[in-house]
């Protein structure tokens, strides 16, 4: 049987690699949406991170500095979004879409000289004997450090939202900005900080694509990863661990699709490419069917502009 040519350990390892960029972008966007802002510019911020991270890494020779550059680039673009939506009160959907288009265009320009260049290699993390365990070692313990840091980031965001006071304020701002304002919290400040965090995460996700997963720079190389990340946030009903599970599921689908192609199975790959979105639609339908608790639905002030009336 042809499917026998697929090695499950390699599949899992590849799945984790494929999931990490969208997970990074999604966990950032999750925090942004929890604060009540819908930033559809994830794709644009990712490609900025991919491009700038690549340029910085190539010029400094350090992928680590590249990642920092990517985070800053994503954050810079997200600050533009924050300026538009929080200070100038523009429509969030339109601004987010513009951000995506702007990011794609700008990086096509910036990255022109870098097409075909090889970036410095990011070393695999040496986990000693763990990496030598049969199967598990290959699947889980032979990755670069970014994958593990991403999982740690999910845990940190979960803890932040659930247990920290700042996280509670952020959720409050996203749930009912008028009430938060009346209690004396700074809605716009909280939202701007959340947007910047989202931008940095998206930038890191982009850099993971261009520096580790591919690793190369090509124009428009994110090919929809930002949109999958956005879908993932909804799929996860705004919960960090579900975002992790969802990212691995979506990542799994992507990897499986590649493997099936390689193995020569005759399913049009388009069906698998579609599946993340179909699943998301199914989840949306399930959420809006009204059986779920209030805590698993969208933040109450999501995508509503806040203007202090006094």
């Amino acid at each position: 049987m042809i499917l026998g040519s697929i090695n499950p350990a390699v599949l899992i390892a590849a799945l984790m690699v494929a999931a990490t960029p969208i997970l990074l972008a999604a966990i950032g966007e999750l925090v942004v949406e929890k604060a009540g802002v819908l930033n559809l510019g994830v794709e644009g911020m990712m490609i900025m991170g991919a491009c700038l991270g690549f340029i910085v890494a190539v010029n400094t020779g350090s992928p680590f500095i590249g990642f920092i550059g990517a985070a800053l680039a994503g954050m810079a673009l997200s600050l533009l979004f924050a300026l538009l939506t929080q200070a100038l009160m523009t429509n969030q959907v339109a601004s987010g879409l513009a951000l995506t288009l702007f990011g794609l265009g700008l990086t096509a320009l910036l990255g022109q000289q870098y097409v075909g260049v090889t970036p410095p290699r990011t070393p695999k993390l040496d986990l000693g004997f763990l990496s030598d365990i049969p199967f598990l070692g290959r699947a889980f313990f032979s990755h670069d450090i970014v994958i593990y840091l991403t999982i740690a980031l999910v845990a940190a965001v979960w803890w932040f939202l659930k247990y920290s006071r700042a996280g509670m304020i952020l959720r409050a701002v996203g749930e009912n900005h008028d009430a938060a304002h009346a209690l004396g919290y700074h809605v716009k400040r909280v939202r701007t900080l959340a947007i910047m965090f989202g931008g940095a995460c998206a930038g890191l996700g982009g850099a993971y694509l261009s520096l580790i997963r591919v690793p190369q720079w090509t124009e428009g190389m994110t090919v929809g990863a930002g949109w999958i990340a956005l879908a993932l946030v909804v799929f996860a009903s705004w919960r960090p661990w579900r975002a992790l599970a969802g990212a691995y599921l979506f990542g799994g689908v992507v990897v499986l699709q590649l493997n099936l192609q390689a193995a020569g199975v005759r399913i049009p790959v388009e069906y698998l490419s579609m599946s993340p979105y179909l699943i998301t639609i199914a989840v949306l339908v399930f959420i809006s069917s009204g059986k779920s608790r209030a805590s698993s639905t969208a933040p109450g002030s999501l995508n509503r502009p806040f203007h202090a009336s006094n």
């Binding site: 006071r165 959720r171 009430a179 209690l183 109450g300």
Partner: protein, 508 residues
């Protein structure tokens, strides 16, 4: 004389085009329950926002316990022992009770300790609360408890309460008053904002009355009649609505044993509703918010369809007809939510007049709108119902709540309906506009129409209604004549299964 806690001297705040507060001075004694009384737009909320640090005054100063007091933000006010229970906008549905409380505190303890303290305080003051429930699942009365407990945990010296009873049943109001009196006897001052005069007379030691941003009087509300207070507040002599006694006419609208599932997942389904509305009758339907009022209105307006024979207008089944067909047959409705339901916020008054008047006034010919005729109709409503607006071209959202309400109700009344159904006709409307709307409804009834008023304001219902019923969890009580009905009796009707309630208490 009690020791003054907070003294306001010459507070002035201007917004572009309005002087919201003009040279306001008064003081609140320690342990005093001080009422702040005024119509909508009199400047109450601006004044309170200054005390709570949400707005900075242009002129004037405040002294708290003989110390200069000028909070730059609410946290500073809270540190000084000033706490506030808001009327709207201050709870978070998706967060639990403990988290909601923590958000209102400066230095909250760990959530587990906080939960215990919430339990303790809420029991001390007779306001039971479960700290781990989501606020979105609580009733209006329970939500208010959350806000009060949130304030009490900070051991406030001054507690500001903004219209606290607008969502409560009479029994819940009694519990609240008991809590407030207990607080007052423990030395906490309370600034109580309301326009419900009887409550103020029952509860408060002193009242400051505002009108058009100025202080008109500070007095002892127990020495004034409700009428005197109202006249100070409005600045004119109020005439209670008149209604000549008239015999009941034939049945215009009847609903028989109707059960209907709500179209909103958080709504209340209607259960076995029956009532009859006669010509010339005003039927008042009481009930605390969220007990099926919206669904009842939607069912009558035709926005939710029902089995054909169970809703009848003048004997004809109308259950399967939509809103326009019902309007044509003489049934019009004015829902509670003015912006977005009764009126389209971003359309002009003329366009809004068209939306409900099109069929009955013949404003559309061969698929084309007769704008000239529509504008005449809109102007007629504006003139007759004293809607204060620069013109009919103005967008609905630009009107103040009271003016828009006059327009919306006037628009329906001008259609000369046989039956009108209104939900919360005077919610958030100032006293003179409210009196005007009530009079217009009574006039319509005395002209032979049937009027159904759904309202959470008992005083209003007792003023206008001939007969009376209450909604509780989607059930409607039997209709009783309003005359001679006591507030207690109504409270029990609103609390559900009136007689059972009494039996239950006796058994305890």
């Amino acid at each position: 004389m009690r020791q003054p806690l907070l003294r306001l001297e010459g507070l002035t705040k201007a917004y572009p085009g309005v002087l919201a507060n003009d040279d306001i001075s008064f003081q609140i004694g320690t342990g005093q329950i001080h009422a702040l009384l005024g119509e909508n737009g009199a400047g109450k909320s601006t004044l309170v926002k200054m005390i709570f640090g949400l707005v900075a005054p242009d002129k004037g100063r405040m002294t708290l316990r003989d110390q200069a007091y000028a909070p730059a933000q609410p946290s500073e006010a809270r540190q000084n022992g000033v706490a506030m229970v808001f009327q709207h906008f201050s709870l978070f549905d998706a967060l639990d009770v403990a988290e909601n409380v923590a958000l209102g505190m400066e230095k909250p303890p760990a959530l587990r300790d906080l939960a215990k303290r919430i339990r303790d305080v809420s029991e001390d003051y007779g306001l039971p609360l479960d700290p781990y429930r989501l606020v979105g699942e609580l009733s209006a009365g329970e939500r208010q408890r959350v806000e009060i407990v949130r304030c009490l945990l900070q051991d406030p010296k001054l507690l500001i309460m903004d219209e606290p009873t607008s969502v409560l049943t009479p029994q819940e109001v009694e519990i609240l008053f008991r809590t407030l009196r207990q607080l007052s006897s423990e030395g906490t001052s309370i600034l109580y904002i309301s326009h419900k005069l009887e409550e103020i007379r029952a509860l408060c030691d002193e009242a400051t009355i505002l009108r058009n941003g100025r202080k008109v009087a500070t007095c002892d509300p127990r020495e004034k009649s409700a009428r005197e207070l109202a006249e100070l507040m409005v600045g004119q002599v109020l005439t209670p609505p008149e209604r000549p006694a008239k015999p009941k006419g034939e049945v215009l609208l009847s609903v028989e044993n109707l059960s209907l599932k709500s179209n909103n997942p958080f709504g209340t389904s209607l259960k076995d509703i029956s009532f009859r509305l006669h010509a010339g009758e005003v039927l008042g339907i009481a009930g605390v918010a969220g007990n099926g009022q919206d669904e009842l209105l939607l069912m009558l307006s035709g926005e939710i369809l029902s089995p054909s024979g169970q809703v009848r207008l003048k004997g004809q089944p109308i259950g399967q007809l939509g809103p326009n067909a019902r309007r044509v047959r003489g049934l019009v409705t004015a829902p509670e939510e003015r912006l977005g339901h009764a009126a389209a916020p971003d359309m002009s008054l003329t366009a809004n007049a068209l939306l409900s008047g099109a069929k009955r006034k013949g404003l559309v010919k061969h698929g084309f709108i007769d704008w000239a005729k529509t504008d005449i109709f809109a102007h007629a409503v504006i003139a007759k119902f004293d809607v204060r607006t620069p013109g009919s071209h103005v967008l609905a959202r630009a009107l103040s709540g009271g003016n828009l309400q006059k327009f919306v109700i006037g628009r329906e009344i001008e259609l000369a309906p046989d039956v009108i159904v209104v939900n919360q006709p005077t919610w958030g409307v100032d006293a003179s506009a409210a009196a005007f709307i009530r009079q217009a409804l009574l006039d319509l009834a005395s002209a032979g129409a049937g009027v159904l008023v759904i309202s959470q304001d008992l005083d209003e219902l007792l003023e206008v209604a001939d007969s009376f019923a209450a909604l509780n969890e989607g059930r409607l009580t039997a209709t009783r004549p309003a005359k001679g009905l006591s507030v207690e009796a109504i409270g029990l009707m609103m609390g559900g299964a009136g007689d059972m309630h009494v039996a239950h208490e006796a058994a305890e």
